[in-house]
């Protein structure tokens, strides 16, 4: 199944990717081929099958509600490209 150029642009917008013209062209072609291959999953009738989201049957892993050390504000900001007064700084919307 082919994906159109408009759909590629729509998905890029959803995924917060500013693609170049060259990338739009390349991905339209490659994603069409990949989607065609993965669409194979629809060949099976699985209306009676339960989905698996996770390989282990784990339900609610509880932890004691005890305080423990966490990283400091200084550490949390240590890798920030920009910061001010203890906050991550970004350009205005």
């Amino acid at each position: 199944m082919a994906i159109s150029r408009d759909e590629v642009l729509r998905v890029a917008r959803l995924a917060r990717l500013e693609l170049t013209e060259d990338e739009v062209e390349r991905f339209t072609e490659q994603l069409s081929a990949i989607l065609e291959a993965v669409a194979k999953v629809s060949e099976l009738d699985l209306s009676e099958v339960e989905p698996t989201a996770h390989p282990l049957e784990l339900v609610n892993a509880w932890a004691e509600d005890e305080p423990r050390p966490s990283i400091s504000v200084e550490d949390a900001l240590a890798n920030a490209p920009d910061r001010e007064a203890g906050f991550f700084k970004v350009p205005p919307a």
Binding site: A33, L35, K40, E50, P91
Partner: protein, 469 residues
């Protein structure tokens, strides 16, 4: 002068314990070997001068957070990122007195099968530098194969430990999902990612698994091991039932040389006393790959949303507001493969397509798990080639993503079911290593180690690449 090329981790531990060599001397010897031989291979992205312990050295794939040591996951978007905490596996290695040699190269965000998708240049195969080491843990595999680390940790989502182990002639374990903590691991597809050992021998593999495995309160998807890790000794396979799934052994694209060595190794299982029989995984192989390429990109599109130029990594400044900054940073920081997978995952999860793609893939996952469970009613271990091919030439598959994806066609099905898999070298085809895959039920690592060790002894594979002997 310590010769690292043939040294196993177990032997290195012996040297340190008997006081014949200090941990610092060992660390130095490996750094010297790296300085001498890694220019050609590029298995490391960076090395660590100070041992920081007195035990045996180890290398980490560059998606394992190491406090104070840059961690990029092979991506330019994380250039300069220095974690302020250690991943749990790093802490466990420190507690076991292991010293960190450095961080190994990888496909960006563990997306790839050749390490050519690294944002920092490819790694080359120590057996033949014109060929890839496999991926995504290609740096770890190449480092161990070339004697540039006694052992290493990699990560495996669709086959990223098993496949490079196969292509580089080393041992690689993808553990049962949930037995090794993912705390501090740069996430790709959280319901599939597992950290695994890459070593020269199966005993080394068991020793390293014993260090890193176990429940971690910081990762609520971990569980305790039902029994302690046993370092394998037995060299026979009496009483072991080995199943040969037709579809995994007759899949399209398996090279004749790979098929022949696999058949010979299956014959060896019988000679060592195992009961060998044929079995079937009717839909797991045919539908495994499409299932994986919906589930993993869907999870990746969510996990990689965090790279936005705000909290860590690079930011690309420019015109416009915060939204334009996000889009620009992500376009500049991600390479093609993460972009493709983010796009694919976003598409598969978007309104109108969710049920047909992601929802259906989750159901296929149930089918795959059920088929494996059925096979394990009659067999203890399932076997096949790890990779359909030996190491391929650099550039051979870079322009065709689907061809690259097929590298993992034999490792993906059991991964979707959360099962452990061990790859051991079983011989050379045209001078290049071939890996033999052993798959067991969840928590059957001890059985895999037993079978792997017995085969390893019987095969007598020389893990030192010919050109380094």
């Amino acid at each position: 002068m310590i010769e690292t090329v043939r040294l196993t981790a177990e032997e290195a531990m012996g040297l340190v314990e008997r006081g014949e060599v200090s941990g610092a001397e060992l660390h130095r010897a490996y750094l010297d070997a790296i300085a001498e031989r890694d220019g050609e291979l590029h298995s490391y992205l960076r090395t660590v001068e100070e041992p920081g312990g007195d035990g045996v050295p180890i290398a980490f794939k560059d998606l394992i957070s190491t406090r104070g040591v840059e961690t990029t996951a092979g991506s330019k978007i994380l250039s300069g990122y220095v974690p302020v905490y250690d991943a749990t596996v790093a802490t466990r290695c420190k507690d076991a007195r292991l010293t960190l040699l450095g961080k190994t190269n990888m496909d960006e965000f563990a997306m790839g099968s050749s390490t050519e998708n690294s944002g920092f240049g490819p790694t080359r195969n120590p057996w033949d530098p014109t060929r890839v080491p496999g991926g995504s843990s290609g740096g770890s595999a190449a480092a161990v194969a070339a004697g540039l680390a006694p052992w290493a940790l990699g990560s495996d989502t669709g086959g990223s430990v098993k496949q490079p182990a196969s292509l580089c002639g080393v041992v690689g374990l993808r553990p049962t999902y949930g037995t090794v903590s993912r705390y501090g691991i740069v996430a790709f597809a959280s319901s599939l990612d597992q950290i695994g050992p890459m070593t020269k021998t199966v005993r080394d593999c068991a020793l390293l698994y014993r260090i890193v495995a176990g429940r971690d309160p910081c990762d609520t998807t971990t569980v305790g091991l039902p029994q302690p890790v046993k370092i394998p000794e037995r060299e026979d396979l009496k009483g072991v039932r080995i199943g040969v799934p037709r579809e995994l052994n007759e899949a399209e694209g398996i090279e004749p040389g790979v098929k022949e060595l696999t058949e010979r190794t299956i014959g060896l299982c019988g000679e060592l006393g195992a009961e060998v029989g044929e079995t079937s995984l009717p839909r797991s192989v045919e539908f495994g790959l499409p299932c994986y390429y919906l589930v993993a990109p869907a999870e990746a599109s969510s996990n990689l949303a965090r790279y936005d130029g705000v909290r860590y990594g690079i930011r690309v400044e420019g015109e416009g507001g915060v939204r334009a900054m996000y889009d620009r940073t992500r376009d500049a920081g991600f390479g093609d493969e993460p972009k493709r997978r983010i796009m694919l995952g976003t598409y598969a999860l978007s309104a109108g397509y969710y049920e047909a793609y992601y929802g259906q893939a989750q159901k296929v996952r149930t089918v795959i798990a059920d088929e494996h469970a059925a096979a394990f009613r009659d067999f203890d271990v399932l076997v096949s080639p790890t990779s359909p091919t030996v190491a391929f030439e650099l550039g051979a598959k870079t322009s065709n993503p689907l061809a690259m994806y097929l590298s993992d066609v034999l490792t993906i099905p059991s991964n979707m079911a959360g099962l452990p898999g061990l790859s051991i070298p079983c011989g050379l085809s045209d001078g290049l290593p071939v890996g033999f895959q052993l798959i067991g039920p969840q928590f059957s690592e001890n059985t895999l180690f037993h079978v792997g060790h017995a085969l390893e002894r019987a095969i007598g594979f020389d893990f030192v690449p010919g050109r380094l002997r």
